[in-house]
Amino acid sequence: MKQGNIKVALVGNPNAGKSTLFNSLTGLRQKTGNFPGVTVEKKSGTFRIAGIDAPVTLVDLPGTYSIYPKSKDEAVVMDILANPKHPDFPDVVIVVVDASNLQRNLLLFTEVSDLGLPCVMALNMLDVAQSMNLTVSAVQLAMQLNVPVASINARTGVGIDKLKEAVKQLLEVQKKPELRYFYEPKKEEIALIGEVKQIYNLQNDYVALQYVCQHDNFSFLEQPARTRLDKLIEKYGFDENHFLATETVARYEKIKPIVSKAVKSSGATEQPYWTRKLDSILLHRVWGYVIFALVLLLVFQAIFSWATFLSDIVDGGAAQGIEWVKSVLPEGVLNDLITDGILAGVAGIIVFIPQIAILFALVSILEESGYMARVMVIMDKLMRRFGLNGRSVVPLISGVACAVPAIMTTRSISSRYERLLTILVTPLMSCSARLPIYTILIALVVPSTQVLGFFSLQGLVLFGLYFLGLFGALASAWLLSLFIPRNEPSYFMLEMPSYKLPRWGHVGFMMYESVKSFVLEAGKVIMAISIVLWVLSSYGPGDRMKKAEQTTLTKMSNAPQEEVDAAVASARLENSYAGQFGHFIEPVIRPLGYDWKIGIALLASFAAREVFVGTMATIYSISGDSEDVPTVKQRLLQEKDPETGAPMFSAAVCASLLMFYVFAMMCMSTIAVVYRETHGWKWPLIQLAYLMVLAYGAAFVAYQLFS
């Protein structure tokens, strides 16, 4: 028997319980990454089998209805299963089968079995089948299909030991038994199969057929090999579409008698009562939207009220921590770099963790329970008008917390075109980092009066900004869809899973994963930029900063120490590289009503938008707690335009800044994640450009309208 480095792959239909089984088998010994060469999320882990010394590696392959892929994710399955040299090529395949929908699930099983891979069937959801008046016999299935079958309950873990035992027995088999194909090639296909087998040195007929049908998806085939296969297809007049349809029908012909022998029905087959009942409410033309609106409200409440409470604690703790480090380390450049550069960057990252954790816990609960699929149904028609898909709803909602993990959730959109559009517009959803900016600018110009007795005007304006972001996202999707040619038809076709209680362990794991991806993906960028910004604002050309400091000190020799410190910080910043940059871009941003000081804050908010407020505080030499909104607000109100003498932060400038931040792609981490998800610089640069134009235009119009 093979010892060490044993690999097992999980294959199955979506909603068959594959991920649940994966979690049951591996527990916490799992990690996520990417399959080599593609940005398809790969979940792998290890588990132990009694009698085998080394841990066994388990790879969870993307859920699919057949081995013929309909999306990038699904293409990974065959890219691995057809390539014995692939690092993830399995020694044994566990095919997870949903007993409550046996006929459809067996289609994939027979395909995988025909590839000649050692297979074990994990027969799951027997309890669901039971509730639908169906009794499924594992013994009958094993006999009919000639395969080891383990009855399991992936949720409770029942039968997992038997499944492991079956895997072990397959590993111990010395000589492979002769394969009984479920699909027997037709006469006209045999010659083609023979030639392909000979050229590529293949043993298996069905693998040879996959070379013919799927060679464009096989990353392990070079271009000459693909061209050669195309020539063979021509030579034998092979009609792929016709073949696929007849093959699938032929398989079902084989499957039908097997199912009728293995499944006994004791009454009418019907979906679980609660699923039908809930669907009649949640998909209702009125209640469906009312409930969705309430769910959204709850999500917003969670992010903006409960999470803010936690964020404030984290923020306060981080600020104290930084102060402490500053006081214990010897004074000097190194101290400044560590505290103002590195630790400030770390603090800027961890402050968002509560919001991201809570949002993704909620999204995961909605997905686990089966509700998200219904939301996609009620939103599909609306989304379709803008070139998107019902599936785009999840990334757009997630974008309210942070665009980085939101863009990662677009992977579940099977159409590349709709996925790309969703990625391009998701950053328009106002993320949580923009909230501090909105708050302070609104506080500056919108009076805190009540409208209609109970709505706060400031609150309404804030709501309006979020709505404007959503509107901008949908409108941009529509505009972009006019310019980017659609190269494939749009599909919706979505299986509605039955409603289930969420598995809390899984929700926790999802939460952990999204926080991790945020810290690692966005965190790296925020961190790097924080350090660069620190350098830019701490050093200046020649000795300008020193001179400015001296001048300020002489000028303010009688003022209290605190004010002097603040004025010095401000003078130093003006003469630093960052200050120079502010002056440099002033002509460009002048039409928007901004001066060089706001220019510095714009530059700083490239790292992460929330840096804007802190930078404004430094530039306007605000002493004391620089994050304190009323203090910053007071100072900003006093600021005068050096040319006109009028207040700098007029309604026009604030409106212009608000528009800028609603539309601008101001965050480097988003650019980085779009680069990664779209494999190149083309789309992130297009996105950056169109959002810049949009932001600049909107800010310009707002400034001109209000001034």
């Binding site: 013929y68 349809a245 149904v377 009620i378 379709r384 599909y491």
Partner: protein, 75 residues
Amino acid sequence: MSAHTVSKLRKGEKGVIKSFSDQAMSLKLLEMGCLPGCEVRLDAIAPFGDPICINVGGCYSLSLRLNEASVIELE
């Protein structure tokens, strides 16, 4: 008269799949378990009349757009 299709079903109405009028779509539908001879029932219609949810063979619920449903011809 054009063929009777799933997109023309009323809520709660049943039908038996006869054939598909689009080849690319038919493969997808077959793989998802919509086979000729299989009974389907229209369970729900999304608020703007599209997409719809059908129950396939009593087994499971499938949501599809009207244009996708119009490919499924009924007996």
